[in-house]
Every structure is written in C-alpha cells, then in structure tokens.
Amino acid sequence: EAGVTQSPTHLIKTRGQQATLRCSPISGHTSVYWYQQALGLGLQFLLWYDEGEERNRGNFPPRFSGRQFPNYSSELNVNALELEDSALYLCASSFNTGGSNEKLFFGSGTQLSVL
C-alpha cells in the first residue's frame, strides 16, 4: 500500500513568487494535514482538511492557503513568498474516526527554498 506522497521533492523560488505543493494521502484516508518544519522553529501546524473542507488553521498569514480535492488529495499554496518561508513542508493523512483523528501518517516532505 502506498504511503503519503508529496511533490515536488524540492522547490526553488524567488521572493514574491507563488509556490504550489501537492500531497496524495494514503488510500482511504479523508483527512490531510500540512505542517511546516523550519530551522529553529520546529514543526508547526498549518492546515487541516477533511472531506474537502478546511477544518482548522494554524497561526499563519492568509497567503498560506490550500484546498482538498474530491479524491482527497491536497494542494498547499504559498503566495508572495518571503525568505522565511524556506522550510520543509510535511503533509500527513489519517482516517477521520468521528472527530478523533489520532494517528497521522506523514510523507517525506517538500523542501521549499526561497531565494
């Protein structure tokens, strides 16, 4: 069974550009989560999507946005890129067990570098 897959593996952008990161969850999982892992800041929760809707959002500016498609895959968009957006972006998926999504499985991440 395939795990959580993310693309691209690496992404290089310049300041002010837009970045699009993609995530395919494990088959059967309906929830997708996005986390940012920046040097010195640890892992920070970004977004949670379930059944196509945004369920929760971390403390990030509106230029971080995303969506979930009918097949449960997801995109994370980062607009007006800033140097401090350089980080590893990890996607995770889980079953939605009646509101208790207690086991998240992660992908290998997209390394975003903003120059």
Binding site: L43, R55, L90, A92, S100, F106
Partner: protein
C-alpha cells in the same frame, strides 16, 4: 495552551544497548493522545508509538516502549537493543482527543546517534 518539551537536544548510544528519551508536556485536558515520531535523514516522519491517555498500560511496539506518567505529565521513550537504523531525530507529540483540532503539538526533537 498545550506545550511539549524535550530537554535532550542530542543523545548517543552504543549499538545493542538501551536508551531512554525524555518528554514532558503541559495540558489541562484529561483525554488526549501522545506520540513518538522518528525522522531519519530521509525526512519522512515515521510513527513509532502511540499512547492513549485514558489507558494506564504503557504502549509497546517491539523494541520501543514508553513510560507514561500521567500525573507527572511525562512520556519517555525507551529503545531496547538499539540498532544503527534507529539513528534519527525523535519527536514527542501531543494531540487533544475531544474537540479535536487535527493539530499535533510537537516537541523540539532529540537527535539520537547509534554508534557501532
């Protein structure tokens, strides 16, 4: 607000020996989940073990076991018979059970080096 603290930035252990990684957390919740994740150089976060706070029995997964002390808000990970493949960064994480937000709160991580 919940916080997770890992006070050991780096640790090392000889192959085949046992090592314990520490984690403490702070919460006013009574029902929650605790996790240990492993992040090897491949960067993928791999779930090592999960503990449900309402279960008193400590979780075990093969060579990995936890010592969950709810009153002390402590959740340490013991790795027995350490293997070279255990070299990785280990993260302790917390998630609320009720009123779930889908949000894992991670500690700062502990880098573990297993030496031959």
């Amino acid at each position: 607000a919940q916080t997770v603290t890992q006070s050991q930035p780096e640790m090392s252990v000889q192959e085949a020996e046992t090592v314990t990684l520490s984690c403490t957390y702070d919460t006013s919740e009574n029902n929650y989940y605790l996790f240990w994740y492993k992040q090897p150089p491949s960067r993928q976060m791999i779930l090592v073990i999960r503990q449900e706070a309402y279960k008193q029995q400590n979780a075990t997964e093969n060579r990995f076991s936890v010592n969950f002390q709810k009153a002390a808000k402590s959740f340490s990970l013991k790795i027995s018979d350490s293997q070279l493949g255990d070299t990785a960064m280990y993260f302790c994480a917390f998630m609320k059970h009720t009123g779930n937000t889908g949000k894992l709160i991670f500690g700062q991580g502990t880098t573990l080096q297993v030496k031959p």
